[in-house]
C-alpha cells in the first residue's frame, strides 16, 4: 500500500477520533528513512525532557536551526520514543504553524484541542480567553504529555500568549513542551520573540541550535554511493535535507540547489499530475482531503504521485513532507498561473464547513479576488479579535481595507478604519492608530454623520493621551464635544465631556474636571447610560481623593467594583489604574499592593493593554518606593521592553535612572532625559514634580549644575506649591532643593504632606519614623541624613548601605567626614548577605505566601510551580531577607511589608 493512502495510525487523525498516539506524524517521515546523524546530544536532551514528563516533571526544549537542518525529524524521533516501545505510552499532541500570509489565530492549538478532545476553543463570542487558557492547562496537565508546536516563525500572536501561559506553568505540569523554529526568521519585533525570551529565562526550559552536518556526517549519509562526501558537503553546506535528497538519486548529476534536487524527483511526472503537485504547493497549510473531489484529483493520480516521495498526508490533508520541497514546487508556478490555482482552491474550500476565514483570505488575496478578500478578511479579523490575536486582526483589517470595493460608503470605510485603529492601539502601535482615526474624519463628514465624527475625535483624544500628547488629546476632546453639541448628538457630547474631565483631573485642573463631569453626569442621567454615569462619578471621586479626602477612597473602591460587576471592564480597569496610582502617590503602599494584586491580572484577562502598562508602571514605582529595587526594575523593563504606551513610561524611566544613580551602576542620564521629555509633553504636576525631584537628586549626587533644576525646578516648586493634590510631589522636590541649597525656606506647611512637614520643622526622627511605618526606606534614610544629630546621620548611612544605595551612602559618608563626625560606618566590602532590595517579583510573591503561613506544597499549587522549585524560592527569600526560618517571616511580615 502506498504511503499517501495507507491507513493505520494516521487514520484516527483523519477521522477526528482521538487515538492514543495522535502526535506521531502520520506519513512515513524522514526520521524513518534516515539515521539521525550528529544529533546525539540534542536527541538526548529531548529524550530527557520526555522522560522527565513521564516521571511527572515538566520542562521544555526549543529546537532551532535553518530550514532543512532536521528540527522536525529530531522532534519526531523523540516523540516516537514517547509513544512506542515502552509499556507506558505517553500522549503526544502536535500543533503546526502554517506559512499563511497572515496566520490563523490559535492555529496550532486548534489541532491540539481537537486531538485532546476539547472541541472548538472559542465556542462563542463570550468565551473568555482566560477560560481558554485554563481549559488547555487543565487538559494538558491531566496526563503526561509531549506537546509539540512546530514552526514558531509562522505563529500567530494568540498562540504565543497561550504558549507563554503554559511556559510559565511548565514546572507544575507533567509535560514536555517541544517547539521548533528557524531562528534567523524571528526578528526583534516578531510576536514569538517574548516566548523565546521565556525559553532562555524560565528554569526547566532550554534551547538547542542545530548546526549543519560535518563532512563526516555527510559521508555517513552518502556511504555506499559513488558520491564524493567532500563535494556534497561543499554543495549542500551540510544541510541534512539537501544531502538526503542528493543521496536518494546518487547516479544523477549533482543538483546545484535544493530546488533542483527536489525537482529532479518530479522529472517523470506527467504534466497533469505536476499541476496537482502545484495545487498542493499553493495550499501552505494543507490541501484538505475534502477538496479533492471538487479539484478533480482522483485516487490513481495520488498513487502515481506517491512515487515522487514528496507528499504525505496529515491533519486531514495532503502536504509536502518538507517545506523546502513545497517551495521548490511552488517556484515552478508561472507568474500568470498563481492566481488561477488560488482561485481553484478558494472555490473548493468554500464548499466545506466550517470555513476558515484566515485560509480563505489567504487564497482570495492571491487569487486577486477583491470582493471575497474583503469579505473573508473581515471575518478573519473578527475571529482574530475573539482569539485575542490583535496583530493578526490588524493585518486582516488592512487586507479588508485594501480590497473593499470602490462603491463602499464612506461610513463603512470609516467603520473599518476605526476598528483597525482600535486593534493597532491594542498592539501598542499608537502612532498608526491615531493616523487611522484621523483618516476617518473626512469620511464621517462625507457620510454626514456628526455623531460618528465626534466619536472619532473622542477616540483620537484618548489615543493621543496614551501617546503622551496631552495638548492634542485635549484639542480632540474639545472638538468632539463641540461637534456633538452643535449637531445635538447628546450622548456623544456627554462622552466627550467625560473624556475631557478625566484629562483635566490628570492635570490637577479641579474646576474644569468637575464642570466636565457635571455635564457628563447630566447626559448620562437623561439617557440612562450607566457607563457614562460611572465615569463621571469616578472623576468627581478622584478629585476628592487627590484633594486628601479619606472617605473618598472607600467610595472610589465601591464605584470600581460596581463598574466591574456591571461588566464595564475598561472602566473598572481605569478605576483601578487611578486608584493604585493615587495610593502610591499618597503612600498607602499596602492598599496599592492590594489593588494591583487584584487589578493587574484583570487587565491581562480582559486584554486592556493601556491599563496593564500603566499599572505595571505604577507597581514599578511602588516597588521602588518600598526599596524593592530589583522587582521595580523588572516591572520597569517589562513596560519599556514591551513598547508600553508612552504615557506609562514615566515611572519606568525614573526607576531605571534612580536605581542606577543610587547604586552607582548603569546609565542614569539617558533615562532621566527620557522622563523629562515625557513630563514636559504631558505637563501634569503629579508627573512633573517627581521628575524634577529626580533631576535634583542627580544634581545633588554629581554636583553638576543642571538648569532644569536651578531654573525649572525652583520655578515649578513655587508655582505648584499649594495646588490641590501636590503635597507629596512638592514635599519631595522641596527636600532636594533644600539639600542643594537652591531654596532656603521650605514651602508653607499647608502645601506639604505630613512627613515633609515634620522634617522641615526639624522633627527628623518623627518624619523618619513615619517613613519607616509607611515602608519607604530610602526616604527614611534621606530624612535621617538631613538631621543635625550625628547618630541619626550615621544610621542613615547604614540604612542606605543595607538598601544597596552604595553611591548615595558614599555621598553621605563624605559629608559626615567633612563635618568631622568620627564614627562613619565603613563601606560594606561586598553586598551583604541580606538584601531585601534584591527580591524579584516572583520571590516577593513567594515571600507573601510564606508570611501568610503557607507550606511549600501550598505555595507550589498557588504559583503553578513544583514543590522543589518552591523550596528553592523559599530558601532564596530567607537568604535575601537575612532571616533564619519561615517563622521569622511570619512574625515580621508587617515590618517587611509582606502582610
Amino acid at each position: 500500500m502506498s504511503a499517501l493512502v495507507e491507513f493505520g495510525v494516521e487514520f484516527g487523525a483523519v477521522t477526528g477520533v482521538a487515538i492514543s498516539d495522535l502526535g506521531a506524524r502520520p506519513d512515513r517521515s524522514y526520521a524513518g528513512d534516515v539515521h539521525i546523524l550528529e544529533r546525539d546530544r540534542e536527541l538526548a536532551a529531548l529524550r530527557a525532557a520526555v522522560a522527565a514528563a513521564r516521571a511527572g516533571q515538566g520542562g521544555g526544549v526549543a529546537v532551532t536551526g535553518d530550514a532543512g537542518t532536521g528540527k522536525s525529524t529530531l522532534v519526531e524521533s523523540a516523540c516516537a520514543d514517547a509513544s512506542g516501545a515502552s509499556d507506558r505510552q505517553l500522549r503526544v499532541l502536535r500543533g503546526v504553524c502554517d506559512p499563511l500570509q497572515t496566520p490563523r489565530p490559535l492555529g496550532p492549538f486548534r489541532d491540539i484541542a481537537g486531538a485532546a478532545g476539547l472541541g472548538p476553543l472559542l465556542r462563542d463570542d463570550d468565551t473568555l480567553l482566560a477560560d481558554v487558557y485554563e481549559q488547555l492547562y487543565e487538559a494538558l496537565r491531566a496526563e503526561p504529555t509531549v506537546l509539540v508546536v512546530e514552526d514558531l516563525h509562522w505563529i500567530d500572536a494568540a498562540s504565543v500568549d497561550v504558549l507563554r501561559f503554559l511556559a510559565r506553568r511548565v514546572d507544575s505540569m507533567p509535560i514536555a513542551l517541544l517547539v521548533t523554529y528557524r531562528d534567523h526568521e524571528i526578528g526583534p519585533r516578531h510576536s514569538a520573540r517574548p516566548l523565546l525570551g521565556d525559553f532562555a529565562r524560565i528554569e526547566g526550559l532550554s534551547s538547542l541550535h542545530l548546526d549543519p552536518l560535518s563532512v563526516e556526517g555527510v559521508k555517513a549519509l552518502v556511504d555506499g554511493t559513488s558520491l564524493d562526501p567532500q563535494r556534497v558537503h561543499e554543495l549542500t553546506g551540510g544541510n541534512p535535507f539537501f544531502v538526503t535528497e542528493v543521496a536518494k538519486d546518487p547516479d544523477r548529476p549533482l543538483p546545484a540547489s535544493v530546488r533542483d534536487a527536489v525537482l529532479a524527483r518530479t522529472a517523470d511526472v506527467a504534466v497533469e499530475d505536476f499541476e496537482v503537485l502545484q495545487l498542493v504547493a499553493t495550499a501552505p497549510d494543507r490541501l484538505d482531503d475534502r477538496t479533492l473531489p471538487a479539484l478533480g484529483v482522483d485516487l490513481p493520480t495520488l498513487r502515481r504521485l506517491d512515487g515522487t516521495g514528496l507528499l504525505g498526508r496529515t491533519r486531514g490533508g495532503l502536504v509536502f513532507r518538507h517545506e523546502l520541497a513545497r517551495q521548490a514546487v511552488e517556484s515552478t508556478i508561472p507568474p500568470g498561473g498563481v492566481a488561477r490555482l488560488h482561485a481553484r482552491l478558494l472555490t473548493a474550500l468554500e464548499m466545506i464547513e466550517p470555513r476558515e476565514p484566515a485560509v480563505l483570505t489567504h487564497h482570495a488575496v492571491a487569487a486577486r479576488d477583491s470582493t471575497r478578500a474583503a469579505r473573508y478578511a473581515r471575518d478573519a479579523a473578527a475571529e482574530a479579535i475573539r482569539a485575542g490575536s490583535h496583530s493578526e486582526a490588524v493585518a486582516f483589517f488592512r487586507i479588508a481595507l485594501d480590497h473593499v470595493h470602490e462603491a463602499t460608503t464612506p461610513g463603512e470605510r470609516a467603520d473599518l478604519l476605526q476598528r483597525l485603529s482600535f486593534e493597532q492601539y491594542m498592539t501598542s502601535q499608537l502612532a498608526d492608530a491615531i493616523d487611522n482615526v484621523r483618516a476617518t474624519f473626512p469620511l464621517w463628514q462625507r457620510a454626514e454623520n456628526p455623531a460618528g465624527l465626534a466619536a472619532a475625535h473622542d477616540t483620537a483624544a484618548i489615543f493621543e493621551y496614551y501617546n503622551a500628547r496631552r495638548v492634542h488629546a485635549e484639542a480632540h476632546a474639545d472638538r468632539a464635544a463641540g461637534i456633538a453639541d452643535r449637531s445635538g448628538a447628546d450622548l456623544a457630547f456627554g462622552v466627550a465631556r467625560s473624556t475631557r474631565g478625566l484629562l483635566a483631573y490628570m492635570r490637577s485642573e479641579v474646576d474644569l474636571a468637575l464642570r466636565c463631569s457635571t455635564d457628563a453626569a447630566r447626559i448620562a442621567d437623561e439617557h440612562e447610560f450607566a457607563p457614562l454615569a460611572i465615569k463621571a462619578e469616578f472623576v468627581r471621586t478622584l478629585v476628592e481623593l487627590a484633594g486628601g479626602s479619606v472617605e473618598a477612597r472607600a467610595r472610589l473602591s465601591d464605584q470600581v467594583e460596581t463598574a466591574r460587576a456591571e461588566g464595564f471592564d475598561e472602566l473598572a480597569s481605569t478605576g483601578y489604574s487611578q486608584m493604585s496610582s493615587l495610593d502610591v502617590e499618597q503612600r498607602r503602599f499596602r492598599a496599592a499592593e492590594h489593588v494591583l494584586d487584584e487589578s493587574l491580572p484583570f487587565t491581562v484577562e480582559r486584554d486592556i493593554p493601556i491599563c496593564r502598562h500603566w499599572q505595571t508602571s505604577v507597581r514599578s514605582r511602588l516597588r521602588f518606593n518600598q526599596g524593592r529595587w530589583n522587582a521595580a526594575l523588572e516591572d520597569a523593563d517589562h513596560v519599556l521592553d514591551e513598547d508600553g504606551m508612552p504615557l506609562a513610561t514615566v515611572w519606568p524611566n525614573l526607576v531605571r535612572a534612580l536605581v542606577a544613580l543610587r547604586r552607582g551602576s548603569g546609565p542614569v542620564l539617558v533615562h532621566l532625559d527620557a522622563a523629562w521629555a515625557l513630563a514636559r509633553q504631558i505637563d501634569e504636576p503629579l508627573r512633573t514634580l517627581p521628575v524634577l525631584a529626580a533631576l535634583a537628586e542627580q544634581m545633588w549626587m554629581t554636583g553638576v549644575a543642571d538648569p532644569r533644576v536651578t531654573d525649572d525646578a525652583v520655578r515649578e516648586l513655587d508655582r505648584l506649591a499649594g495646588s490641590p493634590g501636590t503635597e507629596w510631589g512638592v514635599g519631595e522636590l522641596a527636600a532636594w532643593l533644600l539639600r542643594l541649597g537652591l531654596i532656603t525656606e521650605p514651602p508653607d506647611a499647608a502645601a506639604l504632606a505630613e512627613p515633609y512637614r515634620a522634617a522641615f520643622a526639624g522633627r527628623h526622627a518623627d518624619a523618619a519614623a513615619w517613613w519607616r511605618q509607611a515602608g519607604e526606606p530610602f526616604a527614611e534614610a534621606m530624612t535621617l541624613g538631613d538631621a543635625p544629630d550625628p547618630d541619626l546621620r550615621t544610621r542613615a548611612v547604614e540604612l542606605l548601605d543595607s538598601l544597596g544605595a552604595v553611591a548615595t551612602a558614599d555621598r553621605q559618608r563624605v559629608a559626615l567626614r567633612r563635618d568631622g563626625i568620627a564614627q562613619v560606618p565603613t563601606r560594606p566590602r561586598a553586598q551583604t548577605r541580606a538584601n531585601p532590595a534584591g527580591l524579584t517579583n516572583r520571590q516577593l510573591d513567594v515571600a507573601k505566601l510564606v508570611a501568610r503561613g503557607f507550606t511549600n506544597a501550598e505555595i507550589a499549587t498557588r504559583l503553578y510551580i513544583s514543590i522543589r522549585t518552591a523550596d528553592h524560592h523559599v530558601s532564596a527569600v530567607l537568604t535575601k531577607l537575612g532571616l533564619p526560618n519561615r517563622r521569622a517571616v511570619v512574625v515580621r511580615a508587617d515590618e517587611l511589608g509582606l502582610s
Binding site: 500500500m1 487514520f11 483523519v14 477521522t15 477520533v17 475534502r290 473531489p293 485516487l299 493520480t301 486531514g316
Partner: protein, 95 residues
C-alpha cells in the same frame, strides 16, 4: 470485488434526521464519483452512536480514501468474508 464493513463512530448518529442523512449521502456519492476507481456504496445502517456501511471496492485503501474525502470517521474496516441468510439453509450440506 471485495465487500467491506465499515464501522463509523458518530456521536448521536441515531438522532440524524432524514435531511442530515440526505446531505451525507450526497457528499458520499460525490466522493465515490471522484475516486476514479471502481467503487460501490451498497448500504448503511444507523445504530446507536454508530453507522455501519457496506461498500464494494478493490481494496481497503480506496475505502480509507473515501472516508478522508468525505470527512467521515472510519474506526474499523473489515473485509466481509461471507454473507448468508435464511435462504442459505437451502444450501444444506446434507443435500
Amino acid at each position: 470485488m471485495p465487500r467491506f464493513l465499515i464501522e463509523r463512530e458518530i456521536e448521536g448518529a441515531s438522532d440524524l434526521t432524514l435531511a442530515d442523512l440526505a446531505k451525507i449521502a450526497q457528499t458520499s456519492n460525490d466522493v465515490v464519483e471522484s475516486l476514479g476507481v471502481p467503487y460501490t456504496w451498497v448500504k448503511s445502517y444507523v445504530a446507536g452512536d454508530k453507522i455501519y456501511c457496506v461498500h464494494e471496492a478493490e481494496d481497503a485503501e480506496a475505502v480509507v480514501e473515501h472516508a478522508r474525502r468525505g470527512g467521515f470517521p472510519a474506526n474499523r474496516i473489515s473485509v466481509i468474508a461471507n454473507e448468508f441468510g435464511p435462504e442459505t439453509a437451502s444450501h444444506s450440506a446434507a443435500r
